[in-house]
Symmetry: C2
Subunit: 585 residues, 2 copies
């Protein structure tokens, strides 16, 4: 490798043929290869077979590569043996990069090197022969590396190693066998858009500093409102940092709509407010109520049927009960796609009740909103058009990179009145352009991350029909899984019937438990099965799926599918893996 005295840019070769005065056979190979592929082969070559980690066997003990790095070669031989320029990053520091004088060249090389590391990771993420996770316990990871922050800088070689190490232990959330969360997959156009967003490094509060992104937010939110069914896509909205905050916004705006004086006077000035949501709803409703000074006791949990859907008659009963106590029902949050069961509350019935009692209807469609893109499945959200506000997270079912969560509000102007504080240093009223595009004052945040571009660019690249195909495919896969296990020995479904979303909830019952009576002891043993299988899955790194208890139901697996990379074979693999890892329990 480059000797310390040779400066930042040196020249070397893998096999000795790289002497610049005597190129030899390798150069000849290069020329031949270049004839047919030009600059294309070289990247593939360097990326996949250069000094990269071997794809199929990422082992926990393998140290990151250490010394100098080769620039991408100019051939497509695997492995190639062309002469390569070397950059010795051990002699470079952040201070050598832009804005340093002469920083352009090392900057481009360094960023390209990072990019090559990222592209390797991208390719591996989709490779079923790689692990989903190279699991280590926290204390192992803490001991194996020095993560501490120090006074002195590290060189760029060390920085590149940190990038590799970080990705080595990362969960491959785009892997076709990663089923652990509602957000899975890695969309290539979305990823490209997120890189661009990072590079643009700006903030959503004003048109002045984010002209295109502000316009794209306007266009995209309008389109989402059209799809919800609000006439002409009218209304308001914002991209917020996640579904929990979107739901909190809804609660905040609903309260303001009913009692605008709360903004100045606080909760002391208003009667006791009550929110209603189902017992299967997301915990963010309670979090929001706690934060907003409403209190978790004022969130009434409505009973669900056995499929996890809110029971409208129980909702009405509880509304009347609250009113009889002199409390003021101000919000019903129906869920379209519950977190565990994937249930859709009956929105039409809920809308009727909200109308009858003049209560703000919110729909938490963080998980289920994606189904609005599918002509086959959107009926499950019938009635969403009657909502006053909707949470819809494209970073879940639509596969947009994290984070991308929208809150949509039917009444225009309400968000602005609710949240604006007229900060004159940011939202000057005498600017030279149309100030309606300065959207920052309707947010709770001041600075706001640009979350829209990846959704917008994916939408352009896929079209609505592309999202539809993605959604339909994932739901078909869930049905496939359901059909396999519903009658398979050793499986019990948590609820009956075809899944409405991609959630499939089931117990795996190991052979030793199948013979037991359905008593306390069996339940106690069954409750330990999923955690052990999950731990074994993570240790072997082959796949990941979530489990949890719910109400009186002990730990069960909750399978969800949102990654378009998954196939029938991956579903088959999951089942085999659960059985392989759990049959001795």
């Amino acid at each position: 490798m480059a000797s310390p005295g040779s400066g930042f840019w040196s020249f070397g070769s893998e096999d000795g043929s790289g002497d610049p005065e005597n190129p030899g056979t390798a150069r000849a190979w290069c020329q031949v290869a270049q004839k047919f592929t030009g600059g294309i082969g070289n990247k593939l070559c360097a990326l996949l077979y250069g000094d990269a980690e071997k794809p199929a066997e990422s082992s926990g003990s393998q140290p990151p590569r250490a010394t100098s790095r080769k620039a991408a070669c100019s051939c497509n031989q695997k492995p190639c043996s062309c002469p390569k320029a070397e950059v010795n990053y051990a002699f470079l520091h952040a201070t050598d990069l832009l804005p340093a004088c002469d920083g352009e060249r090392p900057t481009l090389e360094f960023l390209q090197e990072v990019m090559d590391i990222l592209l390797q990771y991208v390719v591996k993420s989709f490779d079923r022969s790689t692990k989903v996770i190279d699991f280590h316990y926290p204390n192992e990871l803490l001991q194996e590396y020095n993560w501490e922050l120090a006074d002195q800088p590290q060189n760029l070689e060390e920085i590149l190693m940190h990038c590799q190490t970080t990705l080595k232990y990362a969960i491959k959330t785009g892997h076709p066998r990663y089923f652990n969360q509602l957000s899975t997959g890695l969309d290539m156009v979305g990823l490209a858009a997120d890189w661009l967003t990072s590079t643009a490094n700006t903030n959503m509060f004003t048109y002045e500093i984010a002209p295109v992104f502000v316009l794209l937010e306007y266009v995209t939110l309008k389109k989402m409102r059209e799809i919800i069914g609000w006439p002409g896509g009218s209304g308001d909205g914002i991209f917020s940092p996640g579904g929990a905050i979107s739901n909190m916004y809804a609660m905040l705006i609903a309260r303001f709509k009913m009692f605008p004086e709360v903004k100045e006077k606080g909760m002391a000035a208003v009667p006791r407010l009550i929110a209603f949501t189902s017992e299967h709803s997301h915990f963010s409703l309670k979090k929001g109520a706690a934060a907003l000074g409403i209190g978790t006791d004022s969130v009434i949990l409505i009973k669900c049927d056995e499929r996890g859907k809110m029971i409208p008659s129980d909702l009405e009963r509880r509304i009347l009960e609250a009113k009889q106590k002199g409390f003021v029902p101000f919000l019903v949050s129906a869920t379209a796609g519950t977190t565990v069961y994937g249930a859709f509350d009956p929105l039409l019935a809920v809308a009727d009740i909200c109308k009858k009692y003049k209560i703000w209807m919110h729909v938490d469609a963080a998980w289920g909103g994606g189904l609005l893109m599918s002509r086959k499945h959107k009926w499950k959200l019938s009635g969403v058009e009657r909502a006053n506000s909707v949470t819809w997270n494209p970073h879940k079912m639509m596969g947009v990179p994290l984070q991308c969560s929208a809150l949509l509000v039917r009444e225009e102007g309400l968000m602005q009145s609710c949240n604006q504080m007229h900060a004159s240093y940011l939202f000057q009223q005498d600017k030279h352009y149309d100030l309606s595009y300065d959207t920052g004052d309707k947010a709770l945040q001041c600075g706001r991350h640009v979350d829209v571009f990846k959704l917008w660019l994916m939408w352009r690249a896929k079209g609505t029909i592309g999202f539809e195909a993605h959604i339909d495919k994932c739901l078909e896969l869930a049905e496939y899984l359901y059909n396999i296990i519903k009658n398979r020995e050793g499986y019990e479904m948590v609820f009956d019937g075809k899944p409405q979303h991609t959630n499939v909830c089931f117990w795996y019952v190991p052979p030793s438990l199948r013979v037991l009576d359905n008593n306390e002891e069996r339940l106690s043993r069954l409750s330990k099965v999923a955690p052990v299988i999950k731990a074994r899955m993570m240790e072997s790194g082959t796949t990941m799926v979530s489990y949890q208890p719910l109400g009186d139901k002990v730990n069960f697996f909750r399978m969800v599918i949102s990654n378009p990379a998954a196939t029938h074979q991956d579903i088959d693999f999951l089942i085999e893996e659960i059985e392989r890892l759990g049959q001795d329990l």
Copy 2:
């Protein structure tokens, strides 16, 4: 360019010499160049001089390039004329990328193409001969392009054009002459880290799905607490989506500490709470109070001295006044680095008062926190170690890409008690690893974006001394500006004395106003000067600086410097530009 029938991968050349059977002169050039530079030159060549827009003259009317694209060539001639493989992206769609079968090659090429667009933008961002902004009015941008979302997909050629168009109209926030916001600059290591974060595409709630990022958050927050001065770096914290949310967290936790029953019972169960902050503080304190059900009337604004610092005697007076009315003072938010003046409240005096009256002391050091990294300037935050909580945004003065805001809390465990809802589907209690690393339940959010990695990687690359050098340099530049204009004809300082932060606030008084008496008419005309100069700046695209009124002071410029790319010459340029654009007013 490639003909429609030639498939996705075709072969072409710029000058006819690219016939694969007859390479000719260009090939010879390639070989010679390659001898000395290997794979390095080719990227620079393609990036800077290939089919890229000419750097110095980005005009509003220039259309984005249209047809097929060349892969990077293998020489470093400018412009090069080597044979190049062409990828006709007009025939490729998102569905051809991974996870498609055989998607690897088009994916790598597409992502590399995007990367080349981004690298061009990065290089231009630091090039003083390019514009900071290519300004267009909203209706112009809306009319010039079709931004609408449609049913049908677009091809990857169009997607790449959207990337170029988006960046064409983006504000170059890393440009050395962009002074418009508290967050400026584009750090190369931070950018690389943010790309990696996007690629890892995960979520901070559990160790299970973000092992390294969770550990890095732990390490980084601890280090920040050490720097604040809390013994052993003990305490708690979180990276939140911006300073406004961090401040809201502080208010939420302070309230919970005093009245834990508020979580269940809401504000109805507690006496009227009062928060105190200075009249120059950030508007997020009022936003937070409105959201949390405290009400903006319960935020008392304490008077500031002429430098914008909170007056402690007025604070104590207002606390006593509130107590006399039977209200409960629960929070004082002191500001370390106000938004407009860059003032530091007297933290030691505030701490004494908070101790005396047993009030939670919060320090909003979103803007000023960076000065803690400087041995020369950290005295300005003396007393911050006595705070109960601190907001500190590394995305401002430390140049970390947006967004990166930390809330640090002295008492451990309080955030968890305040916010936890024990969602069993996410925070299972029977997992196989140490659950203290599942930090999600202490957040208001459920999903949480990974904001730590860019800060951590920059810190490793720069060292604490690198941040110190950055801070010291920016403060030195501010002093340089102050020294130039304090006695220069046509300038009036908004407040006297050297800037404490990089904020320099001043009026530019055009010649026609210099002769007027200091009366209403002059003030009225002076108030229009900054907006007009700013509009002209944006239209000419040469530089950007913010202006605003404050209290009884009419529109003035607020210069801030947080970009290490800025130099003395850039400050000189700003002054010349203001005078050039404003002398006729």
